[in-house]
Symmetry: C3
Subunit: 195 residues, 3 copies
């Protein structure tokens, strides 16, 4: 009799332990235990994008244009005081390597503006838009870009399609620039929330 | 016999308790098991909003205005090259159906700009603001809007009040447009994170 | 004896099944049961930031400037109709108290625009940028700011560094303003997702 009871009891116990174990915080909100270690990204992507700013002479090649400027600026030449107040709209090609002439795999679309008078600093809101056999969907970004610093982190605030509901960090690096007309940004995207 | 069984059972139990009590991903970050199936939204909302762009003659009715434009544009008429660089600020009525004259249930407030030279494409940052007995609070959106495509997905990046901490996807559809002055967007909001 | 044991076992089983049953949505995405109680913030921060708008005479002190305006406005004086359409870029000092002259602990960098004709209402996209021994990293914000209301909630849409992957709510309060040149915003930040 005792033996039969054990045979029933132990599998039941194991079943309950395996099936129902849930950390208490899972009821009604996300689990946010104190951080024990750096989380691992669930997706890691590296892209380059290339910005050619309209300067009055390069209409055919330009991928971006000044659309707002402070009272002391204009929309053809970046303003004094570290370009403070210049707002730029862009539609830049995204490539897999650092070559402007590589086949683009998507478009970086959005805006940036310079927001400090004493040092070059920008703020960005933009999307990576993909529509090909490798990636379909978009990744949305926002954040401050203190562009004289070697690596700058901004936020991945959302995504669609293959990047449905993405969240994470994008690290920007100025890979090259030529005067006020061209710059190339390396973008290391690490997603920490994937669906 | 009884004693031997217990000796086996107790360490096994301890092992199962230690191994299964917490999913490994739960330390310090959200549980993101590999996607098994499409998640179901926790909230589903459909709204329309109506944009009447200021064109120099409709000051009384206009709900939006061009506030930035490229060097070759101006702030009364949308620029050439697919309106590239035109930046618009708006405060549009939200309705439950596709009738501009239906009682508004909220306001769509934010900005959009056109960011491609060769095809009509926009980028949006805006909020739905509600302050009535049905809904109180706001939903915040950002993302690329390739507006010639029938349905376009943007991100719900946050929410307040009744939409506290919301995240999700909003699908935009151009429900109607009249020349350069009026357009109506159907917005299907699917929230996948609710509190 | 057997009968008595069953009487105990069956209710226990029902209890375990009812209590521990995991909602199916928990596999592969965040648990989002109907809200049972207000979640507690995992981080709570209060800051003030100070905006001095360029008005043509205060170039040395100004921390912000109008960079876009509607056709009927200009970039030195805020436009009529509740400043509708004026877009401002800012780099404002952040302080721990309400004194403009307190040592700044960071910079509030971003943009806002006024988006209603009949009442003062703004929309904000900006970052708090910290780089000192207390805080290093950034917090990113977006949302509608109906500034005549005493407290307004916007979204914390992301963070970097010490605020890695932050999400939450920021409550804005106009702590002081002087005509069209100066305003001070108290910002109560409550993060509900921390890593």
């Amino acid at each position: 009799m005792e033996g039969r009871k054990l045979i029933i009891t132990i599998p039941l116990l194991l079943f309950f332990i395996a099936f129902f174990s849930v950390p208490p915080a899972a009821f009604g909100r996300k689990v946010t235990l104190p951080r024990k270690r750096m989380p691992q990204p669930c997706m890691n992507l590296v892209f380059y994008f290339h910005d050619i700013l309209y300067n009055g002479k390069n209409a055919a090649n330009a991928t971006s244009a000044i659309v707002g400027s402070p009272a002391w600026g204009n929309r053809t030449i970046l303003a004094g005081q570290s370009n403070f107040g210049d707002m730029v709209v862009f539609d830049d090609p995204i490539t897999l390597d650092n070559n402007l002439h590589s086949p683009p795999v998507g478009r970086a679309q959005g805006f940036y503006f310079y927001d400090r008078k004493d040092v070059f600093t920008a703020w960005l809101g933009f999307s990576f838009v993909f529509n090909n056999s490798d990636y379909r969907g978009s990744i949305n970004f926002a954040g401050a870009d203190p562009l004289l610093i070697k690596t700058r982190d901004i936020s991945v605030i959302g995504g669609t399609g293959d990047f449905f509901m993405a969240r994470g960090i994008a690290t920007l690096m100025t890979d090259a620039f030529e005067g006020e007309v061209y710059f190339r940004l390396r973008t290391d995207i690490k997603l920490y929330e994937c669906y």
